[in-house]
């Protein structure tokens, strides 16, 4: 079965990519001329703390020993330090915050629902709005609707997310008082509150991303509608609506879906800006906080987590790509 082979070959690929990503991250953060112990020691950094951090990180080991520990932590878990003060870190161990006395994996997992709520909701919104807008612009090319949609889109592409977010807060939060100005409400506690708190971040993120998707969808669809096969389909007597939906859009969406997978994967690793603007304690906020408190373990852990997500997203996109484009499947 071709699809099974495609998935198989991609799974081998993901292991390699993950290994490379881990190695690159390790090299950047532990081998480049910086001072990992210093950066992991926290504030205030007393000499005892520094010595402890050095010991925990195994910085007296040669570099390959350090990398092995690092890698082992992710796959099988590791132990920081030796003797009575040793700290066990279960797999997948993305590090251990000595300041917070918590494994980084645990920190990430407690924050993940926040980030995921923002990312998934916004992604659904921007995909629908972007594809619909782009398709409409392509169909009514050079007409008023196209100009209007593309004007909004170029504004969306140019506006930074935080600016849009702050304007939304100003309008719907402060001026109108309809929606909360920030914070997060877990879905389990209060589904309505969850929704109202997320509505503004979703809108802000969706607005700027939908603009990108609308532009991409428009240019892809225009390209597809100029292809030879569209003429064949028209010559069959299909209505223009079916020509566009079943054939033009079906082909135009192939690259759009690819981009979507990657964007969503990247955003799940931390919606840094939205979390800051809307005061939400997601993974992005964790990263910013730990940079402020000089907690390198968390910084590296979050970075690696984000990299893992994107590597996995890449593979998923590849597989989906093979499913929606028979030409790719054939090459697997």
């Amino acid at each position: 079965m071709r699809i099974a082979r495609l998935i198989g070959s991609r799974l081998i690929g993901v292991v390699i990519v993950l290994l490379v990503v881990t190695a690159v991250t390790f090299v950047i953060f532990y081998l480049l001329p910086s001072n990992p112990a210093q950066l992991s020691c926290g504030k205030p950094c007393t000499p005892e703390n520094l010595a402890r951090a050095k010991d925990y990180l195994g910085l007296n080991l040669p570099w390959y020993g350090q990398f092995w520990e690092f890698l082992k932590g992710i796959v099988a878990g590791r132990t920081f330090g030796t003797g009575a003060g040793a700290i066990a870190c279960a797999a997948p161990c993305f590090g251990y915050s000595f300041q917070l006395n918590t494994p980084v994996t645990e920190l990430i997992l407690t924050r993940f629902p926040v980030t995921a709520s923002i990312a998934v909701g916004a992604a659904v919104l921007w995909f629908i709005a972007g594809v619909a807008g782009g398709a409409a612009a392509a169909v009514w090319r050079r007409r008023a609707a196209d100009r209007a949609i593309m004007t909004v889109a170029i504004a969306g592409v140019s506006a930074p997310a935080y600016l849009v977010g702050m304007l939304l807060i100003l309008l719907f939060g402060f001026a109108l008082g309809w929606l909360p100005t920030g914070g997060y409400e877990p879905f389990g506690d209060d589904p309505v509150g969850w929704f109202t708190h997320l509505l503004l971040p979703w809108t802000a993120l969706a607005f700027i991303s939908a603009a990108v998707y609308a532009r991409l969808t428009r240019s892809e669809l225009i390209d597809q509608l100029g292809q030879d096969y569209i003429r064949t389909v028209r010559a069959k007597g299909l209505t223009e609506g079916r020509v566009i939906m079943r054939h033009g859009l079906r082909n135009a969406l192939i690259p759009v879906v690819t981009l979507f997978g990657l964007d969503l994967g990247a955003l799940l690793g931390g919606a840094v800006i939205s979390e800051r603007v809307f005061s939400m304690q997601g993974i992005g906020a964790l990263l910013i906080t730990s940079i402020g408190s000089r907690d390198l373990q968390v910084v590296v852990g979050v970075t690696l987590f984000a990299a893992f997500l994107i590597a996995i997203a890449n593979v998923l996109v590849d597989i989906v790509y093979g499913l929606i484009d028979p030409r790719v499947r054939a090459r697997a």
């Binding site: 292809q227 069959k236 007597g237 299909l238 079943r246 484009d325």
Partner: protein, 582 residues
């Protein structure tokens, strides 16, 4: 148009099409592209609309279906079975498209939607016009249609995606789709142009069967006089949007009324004349290699039989193997032939036969994986970097596609002087002077040196490419399909130029072409390739007049000639050969 034909199904009167200059680009092309054209298409007859590029023949066909872009303005009258189509409501036009008129397009590879299977696409065409047909009945209908167009493996074809099928299979599927709703007429827009001759002959036969068995009227759009002679009952010759003349095919071919038609017919290189005349006189004698069985490697001509100077090119058991995703693909297998000094060797074969690969291997663009290839005494496999460069400086290369053979960012003069810049120490002024001189040799004004390629026509660009190839006075000229992208009248003049330059400079020439008639015109000797192997070689006169191998015979018989009577004979011959082959 012929008075004996029954009431026409499609009747076109005073059809004019013009494009508004609404698009920012293309102002030069705005204006009227079809001017007061009229014709009648009768059931059971084939009307060929013939013309060169820019004649408006495709636009005419598409305007019948209302498939022109919005920027087109169509006036006049198009009546299908008595109903007016111009200005008809969209729903009515849609019922005609696919329902009453089926369409077959030029490029089968790009005319199908890549993401759906052939079966899905044919089923869609049926469902649009017959919503009641679904499920099992629909599937059976699709398979039946595919079998009826000569695709016995209907199940496999229906389940395949377009990229998994060959051009011939796709074009047959396209015809199956066109006839899926039993149309009264089919518009076939250059249906065989992108196909090999043997495949083309099959498709033309299929169209003929539709006409004869179903009584379908066929509007055939083509530039190829051979195709017209083969299939058409009536002809309409178009030039620059105007209908020049029309009538039954025999009349137009025998007694063309306009000079243009006469010129067009005269420009078509012919194959038949060869059987009457002898080999061109004044050429050096060439010995014919005994033809080997198709499967066995062809032994190279014995070097001992070469008493005088070594030939310019010697290929001996040469193979080229590509690796595609781990699998070895034998593009060229154990090929052996020579090109003597000043000799023109025609290399013929269908697409995928490896003929272009041989040309590329001779300049070292593709490595030879086994065997021996010598150019000008240098063995390519053993040559070092420097020596290979020297070999390249002694070879001129002319490629097929005039649209992309010149760097669009460089002036014509710069392009022509490129080999000089690479291989000589000439000053820029000397190079410019030489470029002008070369332009004159290819019969272009020297002022063209300052122009850019997009300002030139295809034929002019091809002349520039020839000038560039001759810049270093090469020992060998490799011409890879140099005229196949050109209109016939232009093709004729480019061939004439090549002939004259060869006579003047005396370079050896490897002339690669799929078109036997073109090869026949230039080549002293012919090498026939099939699937990477040499099937037959020998003097052009012998091979093309009395081929020894069945493959060559089929190739020859499949190539249509621009003479209806002669073509009917060839067709019978081809059918016989096909029957034997199967």
């Amino acid at each position: 148009m012929s008075p004996t034909s029954p009431a026409p199904v499609l009747s076109v009167r005073d059809l004019s099409v013009s494009f508004s200059a609404g698009d920012a680009a293309g102002t030069a092309e705005a204006g009227r592209v079809v001017d007061s054209v009229g014709f009648d298409l009768a059931p059971g007859r084939v009307l060929a609309v013939v013309g060169e590029s820019g004649s408006g023949k495709s636009v005419t066909a598409m305007s019948v279906l209302g498939l022109l872009p919005d920027s087109a303005t169509v006036t006049g009258s198009v009546r299908l079975e008595g109903r007016e189509l111009i200005g008809a409501p969209a729903a009515e036009l849609r019922a005609v498209r696919g329902g009453r008129i089926g369409t077959v397009f030029q490029e089968p590879m790009s005319a199908f939607d890549p993401v759906y299977t052939i079966g899905q696409q044919i089923a869609e065409a049926i469902r649009v016009h017959r919503p009641g047909v679904r499920g099992r009945a629909l599937r059976d209908r699709v398979h039946e249609l595919l079998r009826s167009v000569g695709l016995p493996e209907a199940h496999r074809i229906a389940a395949s995606h377009p990229h998994e099928l060959s051009g011939g299979q796709l074009q047959r599927s396209m015809i199956a789709m066109a006839i899926s709703c039993d149309p009264v007429a089919i518009i076939a827009d250059e249906p065989t142009t992108a196909l090999d001759v043997t495949v083309q002959a099959g498709i033309l036969d299929l169209l003929r069967a539709l006409r004869d068995e179903r009584g379908t009227a066929i509007l055939l759009i083509t530039h190829d006089m051979g195709v017209v002679a083969d299939l058409a009952d009536d002809v309409l010759v178009m030039r620059r949007g105007e209908a020049l003349e029309s009538g039954p095919v025999a009349d137009v071919f025998d007694r063309p009324r306009s000079d243009y038609t006469r010129g067009l017919l005269a420009a078509v290189p012919t194959l038949t004349e060869l059987s009457e005349t002898d080999a061109p006189a004044g050429q050096q004698p060439v010995q014919k290699t005994p033809a080997a069985p198709v499967s066995a490697p062809v032994p190279a001509p014995a070097p001992a039989a070469e008493p005088e100077p070594e030939p310019t090119v010697v290929l001996d058991g040469a193979s080229v193997v590509f690796r595609r995703r781990g699998a070895a693909v034998h593009a060229v297998s154990e090929v052996g032939f020579t090109i003597g000094r000043g000799e023109v060797v025609g290399l013929v074969g269908e697409s995928g036969s490896g003929k272009s690969t041989i040309g590329r291997a001779l300049v070292g663009l593709v490595p030879i994986s086994a065997g021996r290839a010598t150019v000008g005494g240098v063995e390519l496999g053993r040559a070092g970097r420097r020596e290979r460069r020297r070999v390249r400086s002694r070879i001129g290369y002319v490629f097929q596609d005039p649209a992309s053979s010149l760097n669009p960012r460089n002036t014509v003069g710069t392009s022509i002087a490129e080999p000089l810049a690479l291989h000589t120490g000439d000053s820029p002024a000397a190079r410019a002077a030489r470029a002008r001189e070369l332009l004159e040799q290819v019969q272009l004004p020297p002022e063209f040196a300052d122009r850019y390629p997009h300002e030139l026509s295809g034929g002019q660009r091809q002349r520039v490419a020839i000038a560039r190839a001759l810049a270093l006075e090469p020992e060998l000229l490799i011409a890879d399909e140099p005229t196949s992208a050109l209109d016939v009248s232009v093709q004729a003049s480019v061939l004439e130029l090549l002939e004259r330059l060869q006579a003047r400079h005396g370079f050896a020439c490897l002339f690669i072409s799929h078109d036997l008639a073109v090869v026949r015109r230039l080549a002293d000797r012919v090498v026939v390739l099939q699937a990477g192997r040499v099937v037959e070689q020998g003097p052009a006169a012998e091979v093309l007049a009395a081929p020894a191998q069945p493959y060559t015979r089929r190739l020859l018989a499949a190539a249509p000639v621009a003479d209806p009577a002669a073509q009917a004979l060839r067709r019978a011959q081809w059918r016989e050969l096909e029957a034997v082959a199967e």
